[in-house]
């Protein structure tokens, strides 16, 4: 068996009712993985763009692409090879943690402190998914209370 590698695909769909469930149903029904999925309308068009991070062998990927194409509202499926990929993460820390240390760490990962209240600090980073992993590992020592990742978005170079 060929190894299942991480892959990123973008899917352009007509922005209509239940189009997202058509896509997720296809993945669950055929046993494909979804690592992350983001979706938003493409400005000034009737389309939405989904970025799906999945994993599978070359053969599975070919099937995923073809099966996506078969869905009626799907306009285009882009299997990324050479891509720019970014993901955002928000992390909430207790106010008792060291604000300047966190801030310094954030700037190393394309981020900053976005909110400080009486009780919590919220930091934001936007970087390659792998680097977001590193960031999240690095901030462990500041006892994060809550972490949210956006899922990846990607553009072909």
């Amino acid at each position: 068996m060929e190894e299942a590698a991480r892959r990123v695909i973008s899917v352009i769909v007509i922005n209509e009712a239940s189009v997202l469930s058509r896509i997720t149903d296809l993945f669950s029904g055929r046993g494909y993985n979804i690592t992350s999925l983001t979706v938003a309308p493409i400005p000034e068009s009737r389309y939405s763009r989904l970025t799906i991070v999945t994993s599978g062998s070359v053969r599975v990927m070919e099937q995923i692409t073809k099966q996506l194409h078969k869905l009626i509202p799907v306009l285009k499926v882009i299997e990324h090879a050479d891509l720019v990929e970014k993901e955002m993460a928000l992390v909430k820390f207790p106010i008792t943690e060291n604000l300047s240390d966190i801030s310094a760490l954030c700037s190393a990962y394309n981020g900053n402190i976005v909110n400080v209240s009486e009780e919590v600090i919220i930091a934001m980073v936007a970087d390659e998914p792998k680097r977001v992993d590193y960031f999240l590992a690095a901030v462990k020592r500041f006892h994060p209370k809550e972490i949210v990742r956006s899922g990846a978005v990607a553009l072909e170079r």
């Binding site: 769909v13 007509i14 009712a17 239940s18 469930s21 058509r22 149903d25 029904g29 053969r59 070919e62 099937q63 073809k66 099966q67 194409h69 078969k70 009626i72 509202p73 799907v74 306009l75």
Partner: protein, 564 residues
């Protein structure tokens, strides 16, 4: 034109030249039924169960090549129809199923007879719609018919809330379908076709692997010509039966789990598989890694997702089979030399001589295979043949002398018991001049037996030949072979009186256990031209052979079962 949503449904069906629909009314679809009552353009056949209505529409579609139409109500009406949708989806049957839904204002409130119908049908339809505005109905229905019949055909489900069927809006059916995201590719890449034809000219042991896509594409004639002019032998899948005439010398037989020895051996020995509208189903290939191991593969299909899904295609060709076969014929005229394959044909003939499809006659009891062959002798081309699912289905596929596409109507992909009787009813509607036979089992027939009422009411004389082995025979066979004869819940010794059952609905019943009785019963049923049950007592423990055990290699066939 300003009309109600319900009237739009009628107008759309008329515009699509629909002559018959199958359905069952209920609260949410009543507005549409009211309009059905007022019109005279098409016929509505009231099935006695929604599943049967959908199977009837399938039978109609399979026999005619037209889009079948079924109409049902919300909630239980819809859920009853799901098996039919799934069946049509698996076998690529062009169909439009229209269901009523609770009014828009009640959607999401767990209203009476509300179910998320499009949520359920999404995974077993080619496409589906929930109509939220009557102004969209013309476009949606037109798209539904278009999507159902083009590309790889399939069922399309349109769910219409009750208030939308009452809503008045503009109806204009003349606008052409504009689907920017759906453009089925039809022609096939010319360079790929040329390369494939070169491979054919160079092969020593090529083999046509004919699938149901040929029937869907109405490409039977072209394929017959292609086979004949190349002199290359052919095997058929279950769904492709009838593509070649049964007596065509180049037709080996059906391949797969219950394929003939020669067909499976040919597939194992070939050096070039020419797959036409077939999808390398697991019931056909057996163990994939051993399937046509030494062969290159040409794969022509309208559905790109079918190509290289299971078996890698060296020559993938996406296109409509009618077009592609026509191009292939054109090229073959100058490239293919029939003589080249004569030694290969000799090999295939040897396989056939070694283990022809056969069965042992019994002096006391009728063998089911005999019954099927006998119907073939007596009716042959004059009958359309439907089946249910089980041993009787496989025997019919093996032993009936099919002579044309669309003569053979069966549930292949889903394997739905209860398919046969309603499907045979739809077939009779589509092709009234031919006898409509349903070969069924004592198990399957009870799964839509209520259609006795429909067929009697509408004078649709389906002849059901029950190959009665007092068993869920196919499951019993697996238990005999693989579960050490532990016949768990497959004994059907307790049975209805099938003769009385048929009579109770106004049909005719026959009980037969000898050849003479069978001939007499069939003759009588055909002559009287009424709905019939012929309850044929057959040998109880007959097995379908050859058999490739599930997951085994195609060349490792069990040829007969020896009592241990």
């Amino acid at each position: 034109m300003q009309i109600s949503g319900a009237q739009m449904v009628i107008e759309a069906l008329i515009a699509e030249n629909v002559d018959t629909i199958f359905g069952y009314p209920g609260g949410a679809i009543m507005n549409v039924y009211d309009e059905i009552y007022k019109q005279n353009s098409f016929k509505h056949i009231l099935a006695r169960h929604e599943q049967a209505a959908v199977h009837a529409a399938e039978g109609y579609a399979k026999a005619s090549g037209k889009v079948g139409v079924a109409m049902i109500t919300s909630g239980p009406g819809f859920t009853n129809a799901v098996t039919g949708l799934a069946d049509a989806y698996m076998d690529s049957v062009p169909m439009v199923v229209i269901s009523g839904q609770v009014p828009m204002s009640l959607i999401g409130t767990d209203a009476f007879q509300e179910i998320d119908a499009v949520g359920i049908s999404r995974s077993c339809t080619k496409h589906n719609y929930l109509v939220t505005d009557a102004a969209d109905l013309a476009r949606i229905l037109k798209e539904a018919f278009y999507i159902a019949r083009t590309g790889r055909p399939g069922p399309v489900h349109v769910d219409i809330p009750k208030d939308v069927t009452a809503q008045i809006a503009t109806f204009d059916y003349s606008k052409p379908v504009e689907l920017e995201t759906y453009k089925p590719n039809v022609n096939g890449n010319v360079r790929q076709i040329k390369k494939a034809m070169e491979a054919i000219a160079e092969a020593k042991r090529p083999l046509f692997y004919l699938g149901g896509g040929i029937i869907n594409a109405n490409a039977g004639e072209e394929i017959r010509k292609l086979v004949q002019m190349t002199g290359i032998p052919a095997v058929e899948t279950l769904m492709a039966r009838g593509t070649l005439r049964f007596d065509d010398p180049l037709l080996i037989s059906m391949l797969g789990m219950h394929g003939s020895y020669a067909a499976n051996m040919a597939m194992s020995e070939t050096d070039l598989v020419i797959g036409l509208g077939a999808r390398f189903d697991d019931r056909v290939t057996g163990k994939l890694s051993e399937f046509a191991k030494n062969a290159k593969v040409i794969h022509v299909d309208i559905d790109p997702a079918s190509i290289s899904k299971l078996v890698n295609a060296d020559f993938p060709i996406v296109g409509d089979l009618k077009n592609v076969a026509t191009s292939m014929i054109e090229i073959a005229k100058t490239t293919v030399d029939k003589e080249r394959y004569i030694p290969w044909l000799e090999t295939v003939a040897n396989f056939n001589r070694l283990h022809p499809l056969s069965y042992k006659e019994d002096t006391v009891e009728l063998k089911p295979q005999w019954v099927i062959q006998r119907v073939g002798e007596l009716l042959g081309d004059d009958a359309n043949i439907s089946t249910d699912v089980g041993q009787h289905q496989m025997w019919t596929a093996q032993f009936y002398p099919f002579s044309r596409p669309r003569q053979w109507i069966t549930s292949g992909g889903l394997g739905t018991m209860g398919f046969g009787f309603p499907a045979a009813m739809g077939v009779k509607v589509a092709d009234p001049s031919r006898v409509s036979i349903n070969f069924t089992g004592d198990g399957s027939i009870l799964m839509n037996v209520q259609e006795l009422m429909t067929t009697v009411e509408y004078k649709l004389p389906v002849i059901n030949i029950i190959l009665n082995n007092n068993y869920l025979g196919m499951v019993r066979q697996w238990q005999t072979l693989f579960y050490n004869k532990r016949h768990s819940s497959t004994d059907l010794s307790v049975q209805p009186d099938f003769v009385k059952l048929a009579e109770a609905f106004g049909g005719i019943g026959y009980r037969v256990s000898t050849k003479e009785e069978f001939d007499a019963a069939l003759k009588d049923a055909v002559e009287k031209n009424v709905v019939a049950f012929i309850d044929v007592k057959v040998h109880r423990l007959e097995n379908v052979m050859p058999m490739v055990p599930s997951g085994g290699s195609l060349f490792n066939m069990m040829l007969e079962y020896k009592e241990k």
